[in-house]
Symmetry: C2
Subunit: 370 residues, 2 copies
């Protein structure tokens, strides 16, 4: 009845290192009592995403101070950091009393072993917030989705068919107001969300260009994900010039993942009535003070609409999303790359690797083959 | 047959001074030949607006260099400066060969004396781009509106019933997506546009707060224009705190006229699904490099839509605007203040005064009582 776990060994400040984490084996497994409203699951696949770091950072911080103070800190931090993580944190916060020495939280695919909730039964597959351990108790299973289509790899539900996929889908179709023939620029385009936005836009009939941070990633964008063009922002001396080269007539849609200097360059290159959909600003998350954006005046002259969104507002579209994307996956119209690490004991290295871009494709930890 | 004129004496760089301008009397009046497509008008009222400076600056610059180069400079400048002026300039540009020693351009109300255009006849009243002189030739009268309602003061057509009025109307009703009960914040609120946005918002059922730069203006906002609250931004050490005091529950709509630090403070105080309508960024026009805006990440977390607009896209709504606003004026529901200076010879002082805030209410130059 053992339960292997990845726990916090110490408070994470600055970048995440493997030494912050520890793999240990607990001698107890959680139980979901009848009518408790909770479910006990066997974790199968765990997602490694940048937001994991925020999850870890904030939940360790939250655990160490009084409830009232941490809620204030937390709310302030939420507004300054990765947004996707806010709801997860809110949920976790209510669960956590002292998070040190607890398994780290994260998105995952799991099999229900015991159910104390009327909507779930033993054997169900679920996608939702779980913890990095073999067996987890999920106390609010209403936040999970039941997985019904198993003719595609289950691991896809941590990425393409999970939060990043929904983010790309809702962001592009619901916020960007795309039209056939629109020119679309995507920053951090080889990321889990970016690569999908690009493919959705191509399938929709747009001209798509992406930026990424290495030659390898740029090659992937052009050769594997079917982007019309791509560039390595680290090798461009002048981002404005790079955008003018790729978009001589300007940009209709910018899918914003990075913020800062790239946004400033994009603002100079938007077309009349262009749309900027703000999904993330990853270049800013680790800065004490965010970089200034100087070219907002272009919003007026170009009549540009700039709009932020969070995927959680669109989860009611998840069934429609699956209806659209599952056939495209089955027909081979969507390319998707995974980097699967086997075994929870290799989880810390896989997670830390994400922050240095060591992985190629979506990094997943396979906890169990079943 | 003389024609009094206000002309550029020298190229305007930096702030406008009276010495840049000169009042002279030409011995010739323009003529509109039959079928020329032009009209010759007697100017009655001229608007003094901040955009006049841009008009003057750019048209003097344009006159001094070759067509090709100035068009490039011009386009670049248009994207960095007051937007409202772009179309006017484009139009003027086509007219101007050497603008030095020419009467300065501006918005005005005028009476048609001769018409070479089928849509206009002698005696018509028009509102449009004219020049600071007693008699002007308007070569593209299609850009003018014919004035039909004369039971309100004709001078109103330079402000409340002209471009500032249309800007306030279109910006608020067409871009802000207002709902009854919304909390509305307006910067530069005592300006020609801001005071009207505030009154439209109040009539519509919103809670309205404005910021301005003097105690006198703040008093006007509260006591004359019916704002619920107002503050002097120059006396607030912390704009964020000022906004939190006025909007303890946050801002639904921000009507943006200033940019820079105020925008940063507003971004911290927007409500979920708030709207920021970007009409101008006057605090930035005179800066070499625009101030950085650091808090855009809040667009995501708060799902805020930020949208730029220019009034020229909405001029098809001018008849609807008049239908709405004329009855409100007749019923005394809209307060409007003018500061009318009599005589073209006093025009330079009136115009220069606008930049130091010397005027209270809309500054107008009355050229002739008729």
């Amino acid at each position: 009845m053992s339960n292997k776990q990845v726990i916090y060994r110490e408070k994470v400040q600055g970048s995440l290192k493997e030494t912050h984490l520890e793999v240990r084996t607990s001698s107890e497994r959680p139980k979901a009592d009848k009518d408790s409203g909770a479910i006990m699951v066997k974790n199968l696949y765990l997602a490694c995403d940048p937001y994991n770091l925020n999850l870890i950072r904030f939940s360790t911080q939250l655990g160490s101070v009084s409830t009232a103070i941490s809620l204030v800190t937390f709310t302030r931090h939420m507004m300054l950091t990765s947004i996707r993580v806010c709801y997860l944190l809110l949920h976790l916060y209510s669960e956590v009393s002292n998070t040190m020495m607890q398994p780290i939280p994260g998105y995952g695919v799991a099999r229900v072993l015991e159910s104390g909730h009327p909507n779930f039964k033993k054997g169900d597959l679920v996608l939702g917030i779980t913890r990095w351990e073999e067996y987890s108790l999920i106390t609010a299973p209403e936040t999970c989705f039941k997985i019904e289509h198993t003719d595609v790899p289950l691991s896809y539900y941590t990425g393409l068919l999970g939060m990043p996929g929904m983010t790309a889908y809702a962001g592009f179709f619901e916020v960007c107001s795309p039209k056939k023939g629109d020119t679309v620029f995507i920053s951090a385009a080889s990321g889990a969300v970016g690569q999908l936005v690009g493919q959705f836009a191509k399938l929709f009939g747009c001209y798509v260009v992406g930026s990424a941070g290495s030659k390898e990633k740029v090659d992937l964008l052009k050769n594997k994900f079917g982007f019309d063009d791509a560039f390595n922002y680290k090798e461009e001396l002048d981002l404005d010039a790079a955008l003018k080269r790729c978009f001589p007539e300007g940009i209709d849609i910018y899918f914003e993942n990075v913020g800062g200097k790239m946004l400033d360059a994009v603002l100079l290159n938007m077309k009349l009535h262009g749309r900027i959909t703000v999904c993330g600003m990853i270049s800013q998350y680790n800065l004490e003070q965010h970089e200034g954006v100087h070219n907002l005046i272009n919003l007026i002259w170009k009549r540009v609409r700039m709009e932020g969104f969070v995927v959680f507002d669109y989860y009611h579209l998840y069934p429609k999303f699956l209806e659209t994307v599952l056939p495209q996956i089955r027909e081979g119209k969507i390319a998707y790359m995974e980097d699967i690490t086997e075994g929870l004991e290799n989880g810390p290295a896989a997670l830390v690797g994400v922050f240095s871009g060591r992985n190629v494709g979506k990094q997943v930890v396979m906890v169990s083959r079943e």
